[in-house]
C-alpha cells in the first residue's frame, strides 16, 4: 500500500509536466488530462484512506522512503513520505476539493486560450501541496511549502497582461518568502539542536531541548505559518491574491494552501506543547487575525476580497485553536476541513456570479440575482448558512467546538478568547449576510461594463454547478459526519492528542451564545442592507469603514515602512557603489596616470641628460658598494 503514496504525489506532477511541456497540440484536450490526473490522485487517496481505516488507531501511519536526497556528512535529508491520519485528512481535502475545482475550471476557463497552462499550474499546485502534507521531514515539507508558493505565484499572475495581477503575484511570493525564512531558520535550529529535522526524530525528542530553543523554533514556525496562512502581520498578500482566476482563489486561497500554516502548527504540536510562550503568541496572532479579517470583510465591496477577509478570519479561528494545544488541535483541523467545503463553495459561487456578470466583482453592481442564477443562489446560500454557523450545519459544529476550546483554556484568557471568538462569530454573520443580501437580494443594480456590454446574468454550465452542489452538500453534511460519535476526534486523536480543558461554561451554553450572536449579526446586516436599497456608489462611511476598505492601512504601512525605505536604500547604495567604491578605484588609476605623465617629462630626448643620469647612477652604485664594504 505504501507505494501508492509516491504515486499520489507523482500523478499531478506528471500532469503538470505533460501539460506545461506538451505544447499547443495539447490545447484541445489538455484540461481533461489535468482533471484526470487530479481524479487519479483522489482515487488513490480514497484507497489509502480505506486502507488506513482497516488498521488499528496506532498502526495508521504509513512510511515510504524513496531515496536519500542530500547526504553530506551527518546532514541527511531524505525524500520520504509519512501518511498518518493528519496527512490523510489533508490529502482527502486537497484531492477532493482539488478535483472538484478542476472540473469547475473546465467550464470557468472555457474561453481562455491559455487554459492548458492553467491546468498545468493547478496540477503543479496539487502535487506540491500533497508533497507538503506527506513529507516526513521538514526539509521536504519546505520543498512542498515553496512549491505551493510557486504555484500560487503562477496562478495569481495567470492573467499577466494585467499589471495588477503581476504585482499581486510578486507580492504574494515575496511576502511568503519572508515566512519561508522563518521556516528555514526553524529547520536550521532543529538541525543544530537535534542533529536532524525528520518528524520522527525531532517531535518525539522535542522536550529534551531547552525551552528557549523550542520557543525559538516555535516562533519561527509561526512566522512561516503567518506567511502562508495570511495571518497578521504577513496577511497583506491575500487580498491582492484575488486577482487570480476565481477557481484559484477557491482552491488555493480558501480551501487548501492558506491552511498549510495550520497544518504546520498542528504537525509541530509537540514543539509548541513544550514551548508555552510560543503557543501564547500563536493564540494572540490567531485572535488578532480573526478580528482583523472580519473587520476587513465587513467593509469590502469587491465580493472576492470580502470573501478573502472572511478566509483570513476563519483561519484566525484555526490558528487560535491550534495555539490552544491538545485542547484545540483536533477542532482546528475539523474547522479547517469544514471551512474547506463552505469557503470553496462560496468562492465557486462568487465565480459563477462573476461568470454571469461579465467578471464584475463590485457587489454594489449586483443585486437580485437569485432569480437569474438559482443553482448558484442555493449552493451559495447553503455555504453561507454553514459559515455563519447556522445550527446543525458544518460551521456550527466546528466553530462552536473551537469557541468552547477557547473557553476551556480557563481563567481570564479563556473568557477573553471566548469573547473575541464570539465577537468574530457575530462579525462573520454580519459580513456574510451583507454579501448575501447585496448579491442575491434587493433590486438589480448592474450596469454596462467599460466596453458597454449590458450584462445578462445566466446560470453557469453544469461543469461549474456540479462542483458547487457537491461542495454545498459537504458544507451541510460534514458537520454531522464528523460529530457523529466524535468520529473525527477519534480519527485524529492518535496523532494530535486530545485533552479536555476545564471550561467554565458548558457546550450547550456556548452553542446558544454562538447562535445568539449569529442572529445579532444577521439582523444587523439586514437592517443595513436588507431594508434600504444599497447605494451603487459606496458612501464615504465612518473612519473605521474607510480604514477597513484600505485593509486597515496595512499596505500603506508596508509601503511606507519597507517599500519606500527599501527603494531609497537601494538607490542610495547604487549611487555609493558607483561613486565611492568604484570612485576610489578610478581615482587611484587617474592619480597614477597623472604621476606618470609628470615623470615622462624627464625623458627630454637629449643624449647628454641621459648620460647624466647614467653617470649619476654609476656614482650611486660606487657609493653603495663603498658603503657596503665600509659597513
Amino acid at each position: 500500500m505504501e507505494s501508492l503514496i509516491g504515486l499520489l504525489v507523482a500523478a499531478p506532477l506528471l500532469g503538470a509536466a505533460v501539460l506545461l511541456l506538451g505544447g499547443r497540440r495539447l490545447d484541445r484536450a489538455g484540461h481533461w488530462f489535468g482533471l484526470a490526473m487530479a481524479a487519479v490522485s483522489f482515487v488513490l487517496a480514497v484507497a489509502l484512506f480505506f486502507d488506513l481505516l482497516d488498521r488499528a488507531g496506532e498502526e495508521r501511519t504509513l512510511h515510504q522512503h524513496l531515496f536519500s536526497w542530500v547526504p553530506v556528512a551527518d546532514f541527511r535529508a531524505d525524500v520520504a513520505f509519512q501518511l498518518d491520519q493528519l496527512s490523510m485528512t489533508f490529502v482527502l481535502l486537497i484531492t477532493g476539493v482539488g478535483t472538484l475545482i478542476h472540473l469547475y475550471s473546465v467550464g470557468y476557463m472555457e474561453h481562455d486560450e491559455r487554459r492548458r497552462r492553467f491546468f498545468g499550474y493547478l496540477n503543479l499546485f496539487l502535487g506540491a501541496m500533497l508533497l507538503l502534507v506527506l513529507a516526513d521531514n521538514y526539509l521536504l515539507l519546505y520543498v512542498g511549502w515553496e512549491g505551493v508558493g510557486l504555484a500560487s505565484f503562477l496562478l495569481i499572475g495567470f492573467w499577466q497582461h494585467k499589471p495588477s495581477a503581476a504585482t499581486a503575484a510578486k507580492k504574494a511570493f515575496v511576502v511568503n518568502r519572508v515566512g519561508d525564512v522563518g521556516l528555514s531558520i526553524a529547520i536550521l535550529l532543529m538541525f543544530t539542536t537535534f542533529g536532524s529535522f525528520a518528524f520522527a526524530e525531532v517531535l518525539p525528542n522535542a522536550d529534551s531541548a531547552s525551552e528557549g530553543t523550542l520557543t525559538g523554533i516555535g516562533l519561527m514556525l509561526l512566522l512561516a505559518a503567518c506567511g502562508k496562512s495570511a495571518q497578521v502581520p504577513l496577511q497583506s498578500w491575500l487580498g491582492d491574491a484575488m486577482e487570480g482566476p476565481t477557481p484559484v482563489s477557491a482552491l488555493i486561497h480558501a480551501a487548501t494552501m492558506v491552511t498549510a500554516g495550520v497544518y504546520l502548527v498542528v504537525r509541530s504540536g509537540a514543539v509548541f506543547d513544550a514551548a508555552p510562550d510560543a503557543q501564547t503568541v500563536v493564540v494572540v496572532v490567531g485572535a488578532v487575525t480573526l478580528l482583523f479579517g472580519a473587520v476587513v470583510g465587513c467593509a469590502k465591496d469587491d465580493i472576492k476580497k470580502a470573501l478573502a477577509g472572511s478566509t483570513m478570519s476563519q483561519i484566525g479561528y484555526m490558528m487560535l485553536a491550534a495555539g490552544l494545544g491538545p485542547i484545540g488541535y483536533v477542532f482546528a483541523i475539523m474547522h479547517l476541513v469544514t471551512h474547506g467545503f463552505f469557503k470553496a463553495g462560496l468562492f465557486l459561487g462568487a465565480g459563477s456570479v462573476m461568470h454571469g456578470m461579465n467578471d464584475e466583482v463590485d457587489m454594489r453592481r449586483y443585486g437580485g440575482l437569485r432569480t437569474y442564477m438559482p443553482v448558484t443562489f442555493v449552493t451559495f446560500g447553503l455555504a453561507y448558512l454553514a459559515i455563519i454557523g447556522f445550527p446543525y450545519l458544518s460551521g456550527f459544529f466546528s466553530k462552536d467546538e473551537i469557541i468552547y476550546a477557547g473557553f476551556s483554556k480557563g481563567g481570564t484568557e479563556g473568557w477573553i478568547l471566548g469573547g473575541v471568538m464570539l465577537l468574530g462569530a457575530a462579525l462573520t454573520a454580519y459580513y456574510m449576510t451583507r454579501i448575501m443580501l447585496m448579491t442575491f437580494f434587493g433590486e438589480k443594480r448592474w450596469q454596462p461594463d467599460a466596453n458597454g456590454h449590458e450584462p445578462h446574468p445566466h446560470e453557469s454550465p453544469l461543469t461549474m454547478t456540479v462542483p458547487m452542489m457537491v461542495l454545498a452538500g459537504g458544507a451541510v453534511a460534514a458537520g454531522f459526519v464528523f460529530d457523529a460519535g466524535e468520529s473525527f476526534v477519534h480519527w485524529l486523536e492518535p496523532v494530535t492528542g486530545l485533552e479536555h480543558g476545564d471550561s467554565p461554561v458548558s457546550h450547550g451554553q456556548v452553542s446558544i451564545a454562538a447562535t445568539a450572536v449569529m442572529v445579532l449579526g444577521v439582523a444587523g446586516a439586514w437592517f443595513q442592507y436588507g431594508r434600504r436599497p444599497v447605494p451603487v456608489v459606496a458612501p464615504t462611511g465612518s473612519l473605521l469603514t474607510r480604514a477597513a476598505r484600505r485593509d486597515l492601512l496595512q499596505d500603506d504601512f508596508n509601503h511606507a515602512a519597507f517599500v519606500q525605505t527599501g527603494s531609497y536604500l537601494t538607490r542610495g547604495l547604487v549611487y555609493l557603489d558607483h561613486k565611492l567604491v568604484d570612485g576610489v578605484v578610478n581615482g587611484t588609476a587617474a592619480s597614477f596616470g597623472g604621476l606618470s605623465g609628470r615623470l615622462r617629462r624627464i625623458q627630454n630626448g637629449f643624449a647628454r641628460s641621459y648620460a647624466v643620469s647614467m653617470f649619476g647612477g654609476a656614482a650611486v652604485l660606487v657609493a653603495v658598494t663603498l658603503l657596503m664594504r665600509a659597513v
Binding site: N604, F606, R608, S609, V612, F615, G616, A618, A619, V622, A623, T625, L626, R629, A630
Partner: protein, 300 residues
C-alpha cells in the same frame, strides 16, 4: 730591453719613476683638461693625442712595453688620425660655443663628475694595499712573449672574436659612409651646355696675381682698369680673410714703369698725372706683355 725588464722587476718603484710620474702626471691631467675645455675640436684632439702619448709612457713605466708601443702606434697613430680626418670632413675651424642649452645640465654634470671622481679616489684609497708584486717573473720571458702566450692560449677565443669584431666594424663603417649613386654622372658636353644655359663665366676663371712680382694665389688679378677682380682669388681665402690687398703697390709699380719708359724714350715726363683711365688704358698693352714675361720668369 734588459734595463727595462729590471726596471719593471723592482717591487717598489724607483725614485726615477717617481720623478717621471710627478712630472708627467700633471701634464697628462692638463691634456685631459685641454680635451675637455678647449673650444676648437682640433685643439681638443691634439691635447688628447698628447695625453695618450704620456699614457704610453706610463705603460712602459709599468712594464707593459707592448701596450706602450701599441698605444702610440694604434691610438696616437691611427685612431687620432681618424679623428682628425673626420674633423676635416666636418670642418676644422668650427668652434663650439660653451653656452649651455640644457637647464641645469652643467651643474648636474659637475656634480656627477666630482662625485664620481671623489668616490673613485675614495674607493682606491680604501682598497689601498701597501705592498705589490712587480712583473718581474711575469715579464721574465719578455713581456711580448708573455702576452702572446696568454693571448693565444687562454684568451684565444676572445682574440678571435675581437678579430671578427674588427672586420664587422670595418664593413659597417664602409657600409655606413658609402653613398649609393642614384643618377649617372654628367658627360662633359652636358656640363658645358648646362653652364651656357645658366650663363655664368663661360671661359675659365682669370689667373690671380699681376706683374710677375706677385703671382701668389692670395692676390687678386687686376682688370685692365686696375680694379682687382673678385673672380681671381679662391673664395675660401676670402672667407678666411687671408686675401692680400693690392692697390697701393700695383699702382706704385705702374708709375715707376711709366717713368722708366719715358726716360728710355727721352721725352719729358707729362706734367701732372695723365687722366687715370687713359694712362691705364695705355699701360694695358705693355702690361700684358710684362705679365707674359713674368710668367716665363716664373717658369724658369
Amino acid at each position: 730591453m734588459s734595463t727595462l725588464t729590471t726596471l719593471a722587476a723592482e717591487t717598489s718603484t724607483s725614485t726615477g719613476e717617481a720623478v717621471q710620474f710627478w712630472i708627467l702626471a700633471p701634464l697628462a691631467v692638463l691634456g685631459g683638461l685641454g680635451t675637455l675645455l678647449l673650444r676648437r675640436a682640433v685643439h681638443s684632439a691634439l691635447c688628447l693625442a698628447g695625453t695618450m702619448v704620456l699614457l704610453a709612457l706610463f705603460y712602459l713605466a709599468n712594464g707593459a712595453y707592448f701596450l706602450g708601443v701599441v698605444q702610440i702606434v694604434v691610438y696616437t697613430g691611427a685612431v687620432m688620425m681618424l679623428f682628425l680626418f673626420v674633423l676635416m670632413l666636418v670642418g676644422v675651424s668650427a668652434a663650439d660655443s660653451f653656452k649651455e642649452t640644457l637647464a641645469g645640465q652643467r651643474w648636474l654634470a659637475a656634480a656627477c663628475g666630482l662625485g664620481l671622481g671623489l668616490l673613485l679616489i675614495a674607493g682606491i684609497g680604501q682598497a689601498s694595499t701597501g705592498s705589490f708584486t712587480g712583473l718581474a717573473e711575469a715579464n721574465g720571458g719578455g713581456n711580448v712573449e708573455g702576452l702572446a702566450s696568454l693571448l693565444f692560449t687562454r684568451y684565444v677565443v676572445a682574440f678571435e672574436v675581437t678579430g671578427v669584431l674588427l672586420t664587422i666594424a670595418a664593413l659597417g663603417a664602409t657600409l655606413l659612409t658609402h653613398r649609393e649613386r642614384v643618377e649617372r654622372n654628367k658627360t662633359q658636353r652636358e656640363q658645358a651646355e648646362e653652364r651656357v644655359r645658366s650663363g655664368v663665366q663661360l671661359p675659365p676663371l682669370p689667373a690671380p696675381g699681376v706683374y710677375a712680382r706677385h703671382n701668389g694665389v692670395d692676390i687678386p688679378g687686376l682688370l685692365p682698369d686696375g680694379t682687382p677682380s673678385e673672380l681671381t682669388v679662391n673664395p675660401t681665402l676670402r672667407g678666411r680673410g687671408q686675401v692680400r690687398e693690392v692697390h697701393g703697390q700695383a699702382l706704385a709699380d705702374l708709375a715707376a714703369l711709366e717713368q722708366r719708359t719715358s726716360a728710355y724714350q727721352g721725352r719729358p715726363s707729362p706734367a701732372g698725372p695723365a687722366p687715370r683711365g687713359t694712362a691705364l688704358g695705355g699701360a694695358a698693352a705693355p702690361g700684358d706683355g710684362a705679365v707674359s714675361t713674368d710668367a716665363e720668369e716664373a717658369r724658369k
